[in-house]
Every structure is written in C-alpha cells, then in structure tokens.
C-alpha cells in the first residue's frame, strides 16, 4: 500500500515490548496476582484493604504487569508472581482440547500478549505455557483466516467478538486485503477518494450541528 496515513507504532513481537506502542502500554497495564516477599515501607496506601503505613511482607495483592516486571528480580526475591487463571494447568487443558470454543476476548483480550509476557517470570510451567499459546494460536488461525477472507460487505461483529487482540488485528488486515482485491476487481482501485480523516472530520461537524 502506498499510504501516508496514520500508522501507529506496532506492538512488539513475542516477549518484546515496544516502548512507544500504545497497545503494549495498554497490555502492560493488565493486573497480575502477586505476593510481596519483602516489606514496602511508607507505601501502605497502595493496598486498599489495610490502613497500615507499610505493605508488609507476604501481602497478596494485584499489581500491573509493568510494575511486576520492574520489581521482579531472579536473585533477590522482592515479589513472586502468580499465574493468572487462564494460564494455569486447568485452563491449559481446556485450551488444548479445543482452542476454538474459548472466548479469548473475555479471557484476554491480551491472551497471547500477556501469556508471552508471563515468560519473563521464571515459572517452572513456562514451557507448557509457551506450548499452549502456540497451539491455541495455530488451532484458531485457520478459522480466523477463513472468516476474514469470506465475510465481504457484511456485519463482522459476531466474527470478531471472541477474538483476542492479536487475532483481531490479523482479521482486519485480512479484511482490508479482501476489500482492496474486490475494489480492484470492480475496477475501482484507481478511483480517487477523499481521505478518511477528511470524511471523519466532516461527519463530526454534521454531528455537532445536530441538537
């Protein structure tokens, strides 16, 4: 595509995060269950259930991924991170049985992203988690690709509602490929069009006028 339009910074691949990616910033805001392995003096107010001055050692609480990642150290135990339920053995069995039945939007929506990030914390279950992530993706990919290539000019909300963020992005890139192909086939690819931004701003203007 020969486009100069707005393209956001893409999220990182696998265990990587891109510093400037809005998607990655949102993903790293997901909360993880943790247990403190030392005390955090003068920060008691962060833990709502207590009114003590400090966060004592052994407190179970939730912290966002970015903070857990920042505090986590392999050598010195500052905190231990528990696996969110969807990555534990019970759910892994379900995913392995039939990845197509699970609603990854509800369970995610960053199922793959967060799962890959969990590999930063040295859990003995890491190989199994990675394996399940990969198999789940492969198991769902075919259906996702098929539906993105066949839904032309129709409401796709039912098709995407159970998809994880990564899958949704793939679905929409499939859709845009399909749409460009169709418009080329109809001889419309050479039609000059107004920029989508211009159209949007105009729409907004019209909305503003309505009482």
């Amino acid at each position: 595509m020969d486009t100069q339009s707005y393209l956001p910074v893409k999220p990182g691949v696998g265990m990587e995060e891109n510093f400037l990616s809005l998607d990655d910033i949102l993903l790293s805001h997901e909360r993880l269950p943790i247990r403190t392995e030392c005390s955090f003096p003068r920060l008691g107010f962060l833990e709502k259930s207590s009114d003590s001055h400090d966060i004592p050692e052994g407190t179970k609480m939730e912290l966002p991924l970015w903070l857990s990642k920042g505090l986590y150290e392999k050598k010195r135990r500052v905190l231990s991170v528990e696996l969110p339920k969807v990555y534990r053995e019970g759910w892994r069995t379900v995913f392995n049985a039939d990845p197509n039945v699970v609603d990854l939007h509800k369970m995610g929506p960053y199922y793959y992203g967060l799962g890959s990030q969990m590999l930063h914390f040295d859990s003995p279950e890491n190989p199994e988690i990675a394996q399940t992530l990969l198999q789940t993706f492969i198991g769902r990919f075919r259906r996702n690709m098929d539906s993105s290539q066949n839904a032309y000019n129709e409401d796709t909300s039912a098709l995407v509602e159970r998809l994880d963020c990564l899958e949704k992005a793939l679905f929409s890139s499939g859709q845009s490929g399909l749409n460009s192909f169709q418009s080329w086939e109809k001889g419309r690819a050479s039609q000059l069009t107004a920029s989508s931004l211009v159209l949007n701003y105009r729409k907004r203007k019209i909305n503003d006028l309505q009482p």
Partner: protein, 223 residues
C-alpha cells in the same frame, strides 16, 4: 512503459566512460528499485543517479510534448506515459521517505557506522531530511515534557524507543541470477537449518533476512 521514450537516444549526455543506458533500461531500473523498496521492510541503498536521470528524462519528454500540436492523438499517449513514470518515481520516493520517518534513529545510526568506501544508504537530500526530522522530534519532546521531568529522566534514548525494521518478515521474490546453498534458518524448535538452491526465474516466499544481501546485489527481485 518506455516506448514513448525511445525518440531520444541515450540518457547519458556526457560521453564519458560511464555505461550508457537507454531510456528503456533506465525505466526498468526505476521499476526494479521501486518494487524492492515497496516490499522490503528496511531501507535499501539510495539510487539517486536513477532518480536524477528519470527526472531529466521527464523534463525532456515534457519539452517534446510542448512542440506537438494540440489535439494530436500521440500527445495524449505521451502525456499518459509521463504521468505513469512520474507516479512510479513519486511512489518510490514516498516509500523511502516513509521508512525514513518510521526508523529515523536506526537509519541515521546505520549511516554513521558505515565504512569509508561503503555506498551511502541515503541520498544527500534524504540525509538532510532525516537529520532535521530527528532534531525536530527531539526538540519537541524536550520542550513539551522531558525538560519538565525530574533531572534523571530528561532524556529518552530514541534508538531504544523507536522500533527497528522487522527483518524477519516474509517477502515474495523472483530469482534473477541462480544462487546455490542459501542457508535457511529453522522456524520451530524441532526443525533444523537447511540449504536451498534458488533457480533462475523461480519464485519464493522467504524471510527477508535470509535474502537481504541478494536484494542489494540485484540477484533477486522482490515482487
């Protein structure tokens, strides 16, 4: 695409020892560079000599067109030809500019670490643009936010912040010169690396990283 050009002999006006290129060859070169640039994840070496020649050629064609009488059917065919060449040229320059803006810290870094005799990645005007773009963006971030932050947080390493081009992405290619023993990295843990031969005229889908050197030598063409 080059029929309309052939009324003029060669592009190279000064008869030095340089290779003389016909207009048809010149346009083929431009198309080659254009497709490679469009489909490769990273910036290719600049082809400013091709750009300059094509622009010269366009001017020349415009001048020819002025002399043709109005309403001559040949004129509109020539006009169309000019438009088409100008589109390819603009599109080529646009996709380079897009990568420049997307990867500016890395492009500049690569240019800095380039060896004495190595060909330059950027044309002089691209280099000027990239440098200005870097400075402008850095100044902006400083002025709005960074200089108002605590002293130890007033800089952001642009090389780390702005993502690099993804050389592992897959590209389609056509082989122009036969290649032997191209090493292909394994995709999964249970695969091993292996070697392939690329036959002339065959087409493949491969990781860009594997064949990047062949793109710059012209042995393969991205499609």
């Amino acid at each position: 695409m080059s029929d309309a050009l052939s009324d003029d002999g060669s592009v190279n006006q000064d008869d030095s020892q340089e290779d003389v290129m016909t207009p048809a060859e010149l346009i083929a070169k431009l198309e080659e560079a254009w497709l490679n640039e469009k489909f490769s994840p990273e910036l290719q070496e600049n082809k400013s000599e091709v750009v300059e020649c094509v622009m010269e050629q366009l001017t020349h064609m415009e001048e020819n067109l002025q002399r043709v009488k109005k309403g001559d059917a040949k004129a509109s065919i020539h006009r169309m030809e000019i438009d088409r060449i100008r589109f390819v040229l603009s599109s080529y320059l646009r996709s380079r500019l897009q990568k420049l803006r997307k990867f500016f810290p890395h492009v500049l870094e690569k240019e800095k670490s380039r060896g004495e005799g190595d060909p330059s990645l950027l044309s002089p005007e691209e280099f000027a643009f990239a440098k200005e773009y870097y400075a402008n963006t850095e100044t902006y971030l400083k002025a709005v936010a960074l200089k108002r932050m605590p002293p130890n947080l007033q800089t952001v390493d642009m090389l780390k912040a702005v993502p690099e081009p993804c050389l592992d992405s897959f590209v389609f290619l056509r082989v122009k010169e036969r290649q032997e023993n191209i090493l292909v990295e394994p995709e999964t843990d249970d695969q091993r690396e292996y070697v392939v031969d690329l036959e002339e005229g065959s087409q493949h889908l491969m990781r860009y990283r594997t064949i990047a050197p062949l793109v710059s030598t012209g042995a393969v063409q991205l499609i």
